[in-house]
């Protein structure tokens, strides 16, 4: 379970998160919606441990462990997985090389043995097949020359492979056509389990038609301003975020 | 240092004699001139074993030194200026020089555009004007032998101070029209005060048929939050050996945009030495060079990023016809404190003539790790496929070539903001192409 308490974050003197509180239980799918600039992506980066952000106050606990004291790789080993909005290209580094290095680094950190190469290849192939991923994608350098949709699929493939306990999907639907959205959503849905929580960050409701959340949070001005069930997403879709902007003006 | 013992060439001896006889009549501090000449004389004219002059061997090119030009008569001045055509379409404050001497009468000192102050250098040197302290803004340029010669012999020039937004461009019009070969040395200093903006135009013309030897230095001390547009044209005569230096020291958050367009001179070397001395400054230095016959055109450039977050773009285009030789030497220096530098330098050359030659030396010298620097250099002929495509659409070969060359040079010229100046330069390209046989 993830608990965020009174999180205050700034970057270059600009306050982005303003006393944010959020709890995501085990097995829960929580969605965070909000207008552009409300701090959604910052939240995902801060949970994963990107540098550049100054944490002024608050804490983030994953199953009782204080994430803020950990390096990004330690957080990953503890179960945090961030599906990037813009996955990075790493020239010259083969996709399989990268996947194996990441998987084994995490297994090692958890005290597990390294995976044998045949087992590893079996796992990757199975996950790739589920995501209808062409085999040659795995032979190329990581994300280099991939289309937007291919990059997102690669993120979900990594999620399936690394078996994290807390997954953040940062605007995973951006840049996806309807088929890619279906494939990616099915990939995510197949990973739903009582032991795994999801934080789905999105601007639009359409992703939530495919990945149905248990709870929906509305984020604005660096904090959660409203929480409800999945119907809240529909309401936002109908009325937009205008209500929240007025609030700000008032 | 081994060269110290070398025999002086006749040209070097002539320079020493010229300095000896001129030093008493030249205005200003005799000591600093003597010092500059001594430094020059120690190494002599640079030759191909001096790395910076590897491709432009001045020892071999400067066999004879022309006499330094005297002050022209009123008639000579009139004729010379009548013959000058450069940027005639551009409305600007005219600051003319004939045979290296500032034409004082041409400037109405009481009606200068608002924000412009102008002081003749000859007088300033004689009275020890306070702006003289701003001379030589780029310390390491003083090691350059061409610059040292200018410091030794500079006889005239102007100092300009710019404060505020000045709409009217200032046009430095250099014309050398002496009947027989002369040498000139002019120096222009421009101080651009914080928050100012202005446009500086330079044209360099000389008569054909004489081995003129101009050596011009323009140096600028550019303040914070300024915007300077600089347009330079070399339309020197067919036997002129033209040496020139642009030295820049630029403050923070400034925008500086410079271009040098070359069609003239038998041999030319234009040196740009720039220091970006304040954060978030944006420098662009472009060049468009067209060479034919046996012309030799050298563009040399050193940009030192001396502060955080600066951006520099250098784009040099060279078209070489007949048996001409083009040279590009560019260097971006990033010391370790100039993090977040973004520097990109590109030199592209088109060889039109069978025996044309191009030498490219783009360098990066980098000590900071958080930077993005790149350089590129290409050298080749016109794209056969493009030529074919245009010809298949009905263009004769010559026209198709011209079109492609215009497009090629256009990429460097399009950054000129002053519309009339840009048109004039496009016109220069067109007439150069028309004159191709």
């Amino acid at each position: 379970m993830l608990e965020i308490k009174n999180l205050v974050v700034q970057i270059e003197d600009k306050r982005i998160l303003n006393g944010l509180n959020l709890t995501v239980s085990k097995g829960e799918i929580a969605a965070i919606m909000g207008p552009n600039g409300s701090g959604k992506s910052t939240l995902s980066y801060v949970i994963a441990g990107k540098e550049d952000y100054e944490i002024l106050d608050g804490e983030i606990l994953l199953d009782g462990q204080n994430l803020l004291e950990m390096e990004p790789d330690q957080r990953a080993a503890a179960g945090v997985f961030l599906a990037f909005q813009y996955p990075l290209e790493i020239p010259g580094v083969g996709t399989m090389t990268f996947l194996k290095a990441a998987l084994n680094a995490q297994r090692k950190a958890r005290g597990d043995d390294e995976l044998s190469t045949p087992d590893f290849i079996k796992q990757v192939n199975a996950a790739a097949a589920k995501l209808e991923m062409p085999k040659d994608m795995l032979k190329r350098a990581l994300n280099v020359g991939f289309s937007g949709g291919e990059k997102k699929r690669m993120e979900i493939l990594q999620m399936a492979l690394l078996q994290p306990s807390f997954c953040i999907l940062d605007e995973t639907d951006s840049g996806l056509d309807i088929d890619a959205l279906r494939i990616v959503s099915e990939g995510v849905n197949s990973l739903r389990s009582p032991d795994r929580s999801f934080l789905v960050i999105t601007h639009y409701q359409r992703l939530l038609n495919h990945i149905v959340p248990d709870t929906v949070h509305v984020m604005h001005g660096g904090r959660i301003v409203r929480t409800g069930g999945k119907e809240l997403a529909l309401e936002l879709e109908a009325n937009g975020y205008a209500d929240y902007r007025e609030e700000e003006a008032a | 240092m081994a060269d110290v013992t070398l025999m002086k060439t006749p040209a070097e001896t002539a320079l020493a004699q010229a300095f000896e006889s001129a030093k008493t009549t030249l205005p200003g501090n005799a000591e600093s001139r003597a010092q500059a000449f001594e430094q020059f004389n120690l190494r002599g004219l640079p030759h191909r074993r001096v790395e910076e002059f590897k491709y432009t061997d001045l020892r071999a090119l400067l066999r004879e030194i022309a006499p330094f030009a005297g002050v022209p008569t009123a008639d000579e001045t009139k004729v010379a200026l009548q013959g000058s055509k450069a940027f005639s379409n551009v409305a600007a404050l005219q600051v003319p020089f004939v045979n290296g001497h500032f034409v004082r009468e041409a400037v109405d000192f009481h009606n200068l555009p608002e924000g412009i102050e102008l002081v003749p250098l000859r007088e300033a040197l004689a009275d020890g004007h306070e702006w003289l302290a701003h001379l030589s803004p780029v310390p390491w340029a003083s090691d350059n032998p061409v610059y040292q010669l200018n410091t030794s012999f500079m006889a005239d020039g102007v100092m300009i101070r710019v404060a505020g937004s000045v709409e009217t461009p200032v046009h430095l019009r250099f014309v050398t029209a002496a009947a027989s070969a002369v040498a000139t040395a002019t120096r222009v200093l421009v101080v651009v005060e914080e928050g100012s903006s202005f446009t500086l135009i330079e044209s360099h013309e000389s008569t054909d048929g004489a081995n003129h030897q101009p050596n011009d230095v323009v140096e600028m001390l550019v303040g914070d939050r300024t915007n300077v547009q600089h347009v330079r044209q070399n339309a020197e005569g067919d036997r002129t050996l033209a040496l020139s230096t642009l030295a820049l020291k630029i403050g923070s958050e400034a925008v500086f945009n410079s271009i040098n367009v070359v069609t003239g001179a038998a041999t030319s070397r234009h040196q740009v030495y720039a220091i970006l001395n304040g954060e978030n400054t944006n420098l662009r230095v472009n060049g468009a060079t067209m060479l034919k016959g046996t012309q030799h055109g050298d563009s040399t450039l050193v940009v030192e990023h001396n502060a955080l977050h600066c951006e520099s773009r250098e784009l040099f285009k060279t078209v070489v016809d007949d048996e001409a030789t083009g040279v590009f030497q560019g260097k971006i220096i990033v010391p370790h404190h100039a993090q977040k530098t973004d520097g990109r330098m590109m030199s592209a050359a088109l060889l039109l003539g069978e025996n044309a030659a191009m030498n490219n030396k783009p360098e990066l010298e980098i000590f900071a790790d958080d930077v993005q620097c790149a350089h590129g250099a290409t050298c080749g002929q016109l794209d056969e496929d493009l030529l074919f495509y245009l010809m298949a659409r009905g263009l004769p070969k010559k026209e198709a070539e011209s079109l492609l060359v215009q497009a090629f040079l256009g990429e460097a010229i399009e950054f000129v903001e002053n519309e009339s100046a840009r048109e004039a330069l496009v016109g220069t390209v067109e007439s150069w192409l028309k004159a191709r046989t």
Binding site: D73, L88, I90, V93, A101 | D369, G376, T378, C379
Partner: protein, 490 residues
């Protein structure tokens, strides 16, 4: 894939002391008197039982050398070398010219064992698939101590032997080609080498023969105050092919040692030579004490039509590297390639690159250079691409990228691109950057530590070049790069 894992393990397991080849071997040595003189040259020539013409060649070089000045144009700085404070010849006392491995001093055999260089053919044959066999010439200070697979190569017509032996056994071949690519007067260090070279390899591949195995020379400097001056000459006759590998190590010492080699390659019509180097001389300690001065002249002559010469180098060692493996593209349609990885850390200084000199028609060249600077090191790429008047249709593509790790190192690019032929097409691109923070974060988010992520990204950066190396070397090179960068992160 396994290589990456190995790299990571290697990086992990290593502490401060990274140079694992720094041990010394106790062998009794015979040395020439210290310093350089005609007598010393006569001594070397006599020890090698050389014919008179060879001695004369050396003496001429020495006279010429006395009139020359050390070059200063490279971006390296070092205290003046006292050329009279060096031993120019050092050979194991016990049987300096062994006929078989059984005669070689066991201490020396142990040295090569420790370095992982197999010298016993039976052992090589027992363990490994036949196709990845490598014939080795092992050079220990001034002499070749063993050459493997000589007999088998001879059956294929390939001559592979120490050059000192070749001078005696194939004087006509040696005389015809020695100094024909790097003239005696070429440069200060090449001329010095011509006067005092001691050993090195000689390869001749006859017309139409594809050399049946990789050839390799392993250079080891062991003795104190000794310079190593090897000379390698490789001739690929018409239509032949040979791939040659070179490796080098030296013990750790506080004083600098000089290594001034000359390598000449000659490819005749339709012949191809691949020359790969993994250079791992002792780089000196963290303060810049000790280490090898690696001043090397390597040049290939694509003398014949359609000939190909490929240089691949992985440079991780040496205090100073001054090295420009070059190609003279004389034959029409010939091709030259240069692939380089130069890693510098600590106080190392690297000034390296290539020259591609296009003389023939339709000649092509390709340069891929990856420089990685860390610590307080300086890493310079210096290269020349030139097309002469008659080089119609010449083509060059150059890509040189530099990566800086840390804020106290320097990366420099100094290319010279000279075209005297309008139909020549040259393209050059260069970049300098650091490892992107975003890439690092992405890797760390997937669970890789900072060092693992750096190793991974650097390996990606150099991959284009590593792919050019034979398999066994590629793995070793990848390990070396990671080891060289150890301690540069964080």
């Amino acid at each position: 894939m396994p290589a990456v894992q190995e790299t990571i393990d290697q990086v992990r397991s290593i502490d401060v002391d990274q140079y694992k080849y720094g041990f010394e071997t106790e062998v009794e040595m015979e040395k020439a008197p210290k310093g350089l003189s005609e007598d010393v040259i006569r001594f070397i020539s006599a020890r090698k039982a050389e014919p008179e013409w060879m001695l004369q060649w050396r003496l001429d070089a020495y006279k010429r050398w006395l009139t020359m000045k050390e070059p200063t144009w490279a971006r390296v700085s070092y205290d003046k070398i006292d050329y009279n404070d060096i031993y120019y010849y050092a050979a194991p006392k016990k049987n300096p010219a062994p006929k078989s491995l059984d005669e070689v001093d066991p201490e020396i055999l142990k040295t090569y064992e420790k370095l992982g260089i197999p010298l016993r053919e039976q052992e090589i044959l027992a363990g490994v698939e036949p196709q990845s066999r490598v014939a080795v010439d092992a050079v220990f200070d001034s002499v070749s101590v063993a050459t493997t697979f000589k007999e088998e190569l001879k059956k294929a017509g390939v001559i592979f032997m120490p050059i000192s032996e070749a001078i005696r056994e194939y004087p006509d071949l040696v005389r015809q080609y020695l100094g024909s690519v790097v003239p005696v007067t070429d440069n200060f260090f090449a001329t010095l080498n011509s006067a005092v070279f001691t050993d090195g390899s000689f390869v001749y591949v006859p017309p139409g023969v594809r050399c049946p195995m990789e050839l390799s020379t392993y250079f080891r400097i062991n003795e104190k105050n000794t310079g190593q001056f090897e000379r390698t000459l490789i001739i690929a006759d018409k239509g032949s092919y040979v791939s040659y590998l070179e490796g080098c190590t030296a013990p750790k010492r506080d004083e600098n040692q000089l290594h001034a080699a000359v390598v000449e390659l000659i490819a005749l019509d339709d012949a191809e030579i691949k020359y790969s180097t993994v250079q791992n001389w002792y780089p000196g300690d963290a303060e810049g004490r000790g280490g090898i001065y690696n001043f090397v002249t390597k040049r290939g002559d694509c003398r014949g039509r359609n000939s190909v010469i490929t240089w691949t180098q992985v440079e991780t060692g040496s205090a100073i590297t001054w090295k420009y493996p070059s190609c003279i593209l004389r034959g029409d349609n010939s091709r030259g390639e240069f692939y380089s990885i130069a890693v510098s850390n600590g106080m190392q200084q690297v000034d390296s690159g290539t020259k591609m000199i296009h003389l023939g028609k339709n000649t092509t060249s390709r340069i891929i250079s990856k420089g990685i600077a860390a610590g307080k090191s300086d890493n310079t790429y210096r290269g020349l691409v030139s097309a002469h008047r008659k080089a119609t249709g010449a083509r060059n593509f150059t890509n040189c990228d530099s990566l800086l790790i840390g804020n106290q190192c320097g990366a420099h690019t100094v290319p010279y691109i000279e075209s005297k032929n309008a139909s020549a097409v040259f393209e050059h691109e260069a970049t300098t950057s650091k490892i992107s923070e975003d890439q690092m974060f992405y890797c760390q988010q997937r669970g890789l530590s900072e060092e693992e992520a750096t190793a991974l990204i650097v390996n990606g950066f150099v991959k284009d070049v590593l792919q050019q190396l034979p398999m066994e070397f590629a793995v070793e090179a990848q390990k070396l790069i990671s080891i060289s960068l150890e301690g540069s992160v964080g």
